[in-house]
Symmetry: C2
Amino acid sequence: MEQSAASVPAALPYYVAFSQLLGLTVVAVTGAWLGLYRGGIAWESSLQFNVHPLCMVMGMIFLQGDALLVYRVFRKEAKRTTKILHGLLHIFAFIIALVGLVAVFDYHKKKGYADLYSLHSWCGISVFVLYFMQWLVGFSFFLFPGASFSLRSRYRPQHTFFGATIFLLSVGTALLGLKEALLFKLGSKYSTFEPEGVLANVLGLLLICFGVVVLYILAQADWKRPTQAEEQALSMDFKTLTEGDSPSPQ
Amino acid sequence: MEQSAASVPAALPYYVAFSQLLGLTVVAVTGAWLGLYRGGIAWESSLQFNVHPLCMVMGMIFLQGDALLVYRVFRKEAKRTTKILHGLLHIFAFIIALVGLVAVFDYHKKKGYADLYSLHSWCGISVFVLYFMQWLVGFSFFLFPGASFSLRSRYRPQHTFFGATIFLLSVGTALLGLKEALLFKLGSKYSTFEPEGVLANVLGLLLICFGVVVLYILAQADWKRPTQAEEQALSMDFKTLTEGDSPSPQ
């Protein structure tokens, strides 16, 4: 169905609102878990570890998810403004996640623990490197002025696919980390339905729900941002230039 | 780009072959892990537990993934034949997964262990129920003759989205289970790069790669099965009937 630039699909705002409610709940429940069962957060002492899950959930889950939704929410603003917001949200997410990474490596170093031995850490470091590369490549194609219109058009579907994939991998990595934190502390007490175990399981399900709702919004073809008048004009110019459909000399 | 029914996108067979190579490697590495470090597989004794990961990986990962790819691979066959194959592969996947589920519940019962306390089990049982519901609803819409053409068209995008989501959740649940099995057995030895830990981490990465490659094949818009001549005719008839675009009396 063709949409005018002004129309907003009727159900979209409700789904976006629901995603935000879920995302904020995920951050709040992570904070509650760390506050209630892990002694809270600090840069010194053992509490430094707790900076890691909170920062990763805020950066790699909530802010990354919101950065993906920018093109569904800002439908009438200039394309460039929306792009800059998308890029900025990803930078904030990246910086917050970097603090979370420094926290865990620093904590391991102080405690003399080994680094990068677990599946969670292998996934985490891979996803973080992929996220950084995706940002760099995205920046050079879409914000840096050099790339041609045709190059951008060809790269766009790949950028979208890998963006969504990196987000889903971030959710998966968070679940592995949560499971690791639970099993290291609770051990066999996990099977006695300890309150911490139940809260963390609920947090895991909330993380999955946030991931699925963001993916659902992204997957709806007719919820995509409609092409604006000036972009259509540019696209037509480009088509004329490349397809040799120049005005005939008559 | 419009495709004729006969054409196959050039890169598609290579991606499908790669996905099969990955899928079979995942099953083989699961078998190797259980054989080398867990004493192999049997229905009696403690080895009964090992039936669970092998069946779940074969059913909920490999066969479910392949069932999703059926419409990309069988492009020229009659739609009905392809649908039946899609449904049958899902039935096989479901039965194998059911054996895997019975194995773990039976093992827990014999050992007196608690059921359904972990995030892995909560995710697993939810995904299994969703998978069964998706099959039932899919069957009644697409194979049972009652549903109208318009109802099928409206449900199809939902079926596709939730099919892919359930597959991704299955991969995530397998990762959680793998991590749980590792941490329960290895504990703090996991951090000393024990061979079993490294093999299981590699298995985790292979599971993720299989999930990403299947998702990539499904996400390419121009790799979708082209509409066949007889389906196009049916669709045109339907359009004429519903849009009131009947031949004018002149």
